[in-house]
Amino acid sequence: MSLFQNLPIAFLILSFITILCALYVVTSKNPVHSVLALILTFFSISAHYVLLNAQFLAIVNLMVYAGAIMVLFLFVLMLLNLNKESEPIKSNLWAIAASISAGLMLVVITASFQKAGIAIMKGNTEEIGLVKNLGRVLMTEYLVPFELSGILFIAAMVGAVLLGKKEKNSEELVNLNNS
């Protein structure tokens, strides 16, 4: 029980919320509830970031994930009219198989950290996560990937447009709106 004795309260509570929300994401039958729970999870993860001196990351996480990506999800769910508990329940066998696999993964990974050692570098931890530092690194060492991620975005944009574009002789979108 030594694990829980001196554990700081903040970490404990946040972790609890995070895991609870994550579990709800996975188990909720209504996709919209899942999305909302996922947003909550992201909030709590952002809080973790603050505890970890990654303040800028926390903001970005909120803006990108909770603000942009999750809204996109919500939008699509609404567009496709999936805000019902539409998903059929899987058989118990499947649930057991899935939980055993995931559980095994967890056990295998965590079991191996009995003597996990990480590299120590001794930087000034309080300033690491500030915009100033991050900007410096991003514009120097990580300049090339930063520039190249432009290719990723243009590709994703073209791809999404290609898939979403209405074909000339296609009635699909019209049908979609009528349904």
């Binding site: 499947w94 198989a97 899935a98 696999s101 995931a102 095994l104 993964m105 295998v108 990974i109 079991a111 191996s112």
Partner: protein
């Protein structure tokens, strides 16, 4: 210009011209082109012979370019004329020319005429590359090339589905042999850092490797030879390969390609000399193949199938000789076999041509009067293979028997038995085909005709060669000196061949035994198939009544001593052993693999969730292996 380049290049040019613009050429030009390239190569090779005669250590080499130079391994595209390779070249180009001439008449009405000639030329090119290459890589190039040509030519008449299958089977079985050869080559690179014949021999003489390693290498090389030269258990492709046109069977599946395994072992005899276990293994494999194939040959009714099994059996003889360390003898039998087996196949082709593409000997008979030239030449071929005294086959087979007698007495007994079987199945086929009465009701006897000049001429030449081929290596007891071939090969055989340790009187006894075997086989089959007009039926056992008329008690004796057990054995081997043991072992693997492949259907069932689950299980296992074991 270097003559090696010309000899190699001419068939290649023939292949390219015929392959690219053959269709536009008139048939006569296309055919003559095919013939002339090989013929010129033959003449060039023959003109080289004199230099070898005058200079014992003469050799000529050609280095085209460096093929590869990686990891300190230098592989060169280089070729070499030495006494062994020129001997093989003579056989290939010589018999190749004859068969090309024959094919011109045989294939004249086939729509794929030019295609056929281009394939044949390509085959000769690859075969020459195989024997002329000065390292294992060039050998392997030729090795695979001839396999590919064999594939193309077996499946030449693709219209029948089973032919395509036979072609694929032949290729796959050859590939299994190639596995051995390739692995052997990798081991050679590993041990000696080179694939040059000279380099390997030098490495062995320097003792760069251990005895166990030599055994491994030689065994692997022999596996390659087994595939190409159709030995147990990789022999079943050869009978199936008879689906191809008959000249192909003569050239590829009798005279040249199948002897590549023999050539490989003679070429690398140093290795095999140092690996007594392998030699012994070769001996027994060769022996059992020769007996098994001969026994199965007893029951075949397809004229080409009989010859095919006979080829397998004769190749077994050659391997027996190799197993005894009698390399010259093996080469000698290879040569004479090339003569008479090419003759027999071409003769069979002539018969098939004459009776309008009928291959079942039960539907022939009495062809003697209609096809005199074919008859006489076929007779000479049969006599040569069965060991009629002083024909080519007699000398070479006798030499093998003598060596086996020295080597292993039990082996000798079995070899004599095998020789007896050879006589029986050959004469059986011969008598049933040419004697007796004509039996095919669908094709009238009047229409049976002798083949044209283009086909009979090669037959005559080959018949003459089969008659006098023995002169190439007359035994010591006749001439009191070693034979031409023995002298010829002596400089390149690094190991001194064992001198005949037995006295002349023993040799005479052995010759007597050989002749006795021949006479027994002749008399037995003659009485059965000529005097009694026995015709093999589907149910051989019901034919027993036919013997009743026979007054000679000898026949009864034969019947109980030989016929019953032999036919029983043949039945067992042909129907049980081959179909239940060998075929599943070699090609039946295919059906096993197919079943295994179909199991995959249960995993790959299209459900993405299962895929994800399998992937996670895979990850878990991977981590588990790494962390807990």
């Amino acid at each position: 210009m270097n003559s090696i380049a010309l000899i190699l290049g001419l068939p290649l040019i023939g292949f390219i011209i015929n392959g690219v613009i053959g269709k536009q050429l008139p048939k006569i030009v296309s055919g003559l082109l095919g013939i002339s390239t090989i013929l010129i190569a033959f003449i060039l090779t023959a003109s080289k012979l004199s230099q070898f005669v005058s200079n014992e250590s003469f050799s000529e080499s050609l280095k085209l370019f460096t093929f590869l130079n990686v990891d300190n391994l230098v592989l060169e595209a280089s070729f070499k004329f030495d006494r062994l390779s020129i001997w093989m070249t003579m056989i290939i180009t010589g018999i190749g020319t004859l068969i090309h001439v024959y094919s011109m008449a045989y294939m004249w009405n086939d729509e794929g005429f030019h295609k056929f000639f281009s394939y044949l030329n390509f085959f000769v090119f690859n075969m020459l590359m195989l024997v002329l290459g000065s390292n294992f890589l060039m050998l392997f190039f030729g090795w695979e090339g001839v396999g590919l040509c064999s594939y193309l030519l077996i499946g030449f008449w693709y219209s029948r589905p089973e032919y395509g299958k036979a072609a694929r089977k032949a290729f796959i079985m050859n590939r299994i042999g190639d596995l051995g050869l390739l692995l052997g080559m990798f081991l050679l690179i590993h041990q000696f850092g080179t694939l040059d014949y000279d380099g390997v021999i030098e490495g062995i003489s320097q003792g760069k490797t251990s005895a166990g390693m030599l055994t491994a290498i030689s065994m692997l090389l022999f596996v390659g030879a087994m595939g190409k030269s159709a030995q147990i258990p990789l022999y079943t492709w050869l009978p199936d390969a008879m689906a191809g046109p008959t000249p192909v069977s003569a050239l590829i599946h009798a005279a040249t390609m199948v002897t590549a395994g023999i050539y490989l072992i003679v070429r690398t005899q140093v290795l095999f000399e140092m690996a007594p276990f392998t030699s012994e293994f070769i001996f027994w494999i060769g022996l059992s193949t020769s007996i098994l194939a001969a026994l199965i040959g007893l029951k075949q009714n397809d004229i080409k199938k009989v010859l095919a099994y006979s080829t397998v059996s004769q190749l077994g003889f050659m391997f027996v000789a190799l197993g005894c360390g009698a390399y010259t003898t093996a080469m000698f039998h290879l040569t004479t076999h090339a003569f008479f087996k090419a003759l027999l196949f071409l003769g069979a082709g002539s018969v098939i041509h004459g009776v309008h593409h009928e291959q079942d000997i039960r539907l022939m008979g009495g062809l003697k009067s209609k096809m005199p030239i074919t008859y006489i030449t076929f007779l000479i071929g049969t006599l040569a293979i069965t060991g009629f005294p002083f024909l080519s086959g007699f000398f070479s087979k006798d030499e093998i028997l003598t060596h086996v007698f020295e080597h292993n007495k039990i082996g000798y007994g079995l070899m004599v038995f095998s020789a007896l079987l050879t006589g029986i199945y050959m004469f059986r086929m011969f008598f049933v085909t040419f004697h007796g009465s004509y039996r095919n009701t669908h094709f009238s006897f009047d229409k049976v005709h002798e083949s044209p000049m283009g086909m009979t001429l090669p037959l005559i030449v080959l018949a003459v060669l089969s008659l006098i081929g023995g002169a190439l290596n007359l035994p010591e007891y006749l001439t009191h000196q070693s034979g031409i071939l023995a002298n010829w090969l002596k400089p390149i055989l690094t190991i001194e061949e064992t001198k005949h340790a037995i006295s002349h009187s023993t040799e005479y006894i052995l010759i007597g035994v050989a002749i006795l075997v021949f006479v027994t086989a002749l008399l037995f089959t003659r009485s059965k198939y000529v005097s009694n007009h026995h015709v093999p039926k589907d149910e051989e056992s019901t034919g027993v009544q036919g013997y009743m008329e026979n007054k000679f008690y000898v026949d009864e004796l034969y019947n109980t001593i030989f016929v019953k057990p032999l036919e029983g054995l043949s039945d067992i081997l042909g129907n049980f052993f081959e179909s239940k043991v060998i075929s599943p072992l070699s090609f039946g693997i295919n059906s096993v693999l197919t079943k295994v492949g179909k199991l995959n259907r249960y995993i790959q069932d299209g459900n993405i969730e299962k895929y994800l689950l399998y992937m996670v299980i895979g990850v878990v296992i991977l981590i588990g292996i790494n962390l807990f074991i």
